[in-house]
């Protein structure tokens, strides 16, 4: 009955609104039972940072996220997928990334959102640079070993 799902993917400097993105997937639908959202926010690391600067690879970012979303849709019966990733300077407490998954059943929505985040962390071409409170060059955030491990756990099946 349903049309094929086309993931919504946006790479933008602007903020997003979670409710609006949930509504975009569910509006007019009576078959969706579960929507999961994940919002990633900028932390100040115990007051150490004034901001994060997100650099990205524009020519690749959307295509890579689309490939990740396709994998999620192959693995779980999803009725909707949205990924919004911001770039540029982001202050503590502000949004960085939003993932929304919609499905008839809740475990599909949860697992797909978790998978999307693990894959975004380790495969989407974005890099975070720290802006420390004391000024100066804060250096680049190191990739976390446990993010790579988190992504690998989906390869079992």
């Amino acid at each position: 009955m349903s049309a094929p799902v086309v993931p919504l993917i946006r790479i933008q400097a602007e903020d997003f609104d979670t409710s609006a993105e949930v509504a975009r997937l569910t509006r007019g639908r009576h078959d969706i039972g579960a929507v999961v959202t994940f919002t990633g926010l900028c932390r100040d690391e115990g007051g150490r940072l004034t901001a994060l600067e997100l650099e990205h690879y524009p020519a690749m970012a959307e295509a890579e996220i689309a490939r990740i979303a396709e994998q999620a849709m192959e693995r779980w019966p999803l009725d909707g997928v949205s990924v919004i990733h911001r770039y540029g300077r982001i202050a503590p407490g502000d949004n960085i990334v939003l993932v929304v998954t919609a499905s008839t059943h809740r475990h599909a929505a949860f697992d797909a959102a978790s998978f999307l985040m693990d894959y975004l962390k380790s495969r989407a071409p974005f890099w975070k640079k720290e802006h420390p409170k004391e000024g100066g060059d804060g250096g680049w955030v190191d990739a976390r070993e446990d993010d790579a491990i988190a992504a690998k756990r989906w390869q079992r099946s």
């Binding site: 690879y57 020519a59 690749m60 295509a63 989407a124 890099w127 640079k129 990739a143």
Partner: protein, 88 residues
């Protein structure tokens, strides 16, 4: 653009250390794989040496798709070099 030329693009600390966001290069014929490319670039000067000293951690995308170091670069038009990603 020379038909054998290739666009290289750099991100994050790879970009900062090399001091360029992108450049066009013509590769010698013996540079066939990603690994060859990284080795060849390293010989181009101090900045490249600093950026690529730990070649193992450098991630590479060929024409906007992730590529392993063993992959061939034949036919590539744009190759990106960058550190492990930290988005999300």
């Amino acid at each position: 653009m020379n038909e054998n030329s290739l666009k290289l693009v750099y991100f994050a600390w790879v970009r900062e250390r090399i001091g360029l966001t992108e450049e066009e290069i013509v590769l010698p014929g013996e540079v066939r794989t990603v690994k060859d490319l990284l080795g060849w670039l390293k010989g181009r000067g101090e900045e490249y040496e600093a950026a690529l000293q730990h070649a193992d951690v450098i991630r590479v995308a060929i024409d906007h798709e992730h590529a392993d170091h063993g992959e061939t670069i034949a036919g590539a038009r744009e190759i990106a070099l960058f550190p492990p990603m930290t988005g999300g």
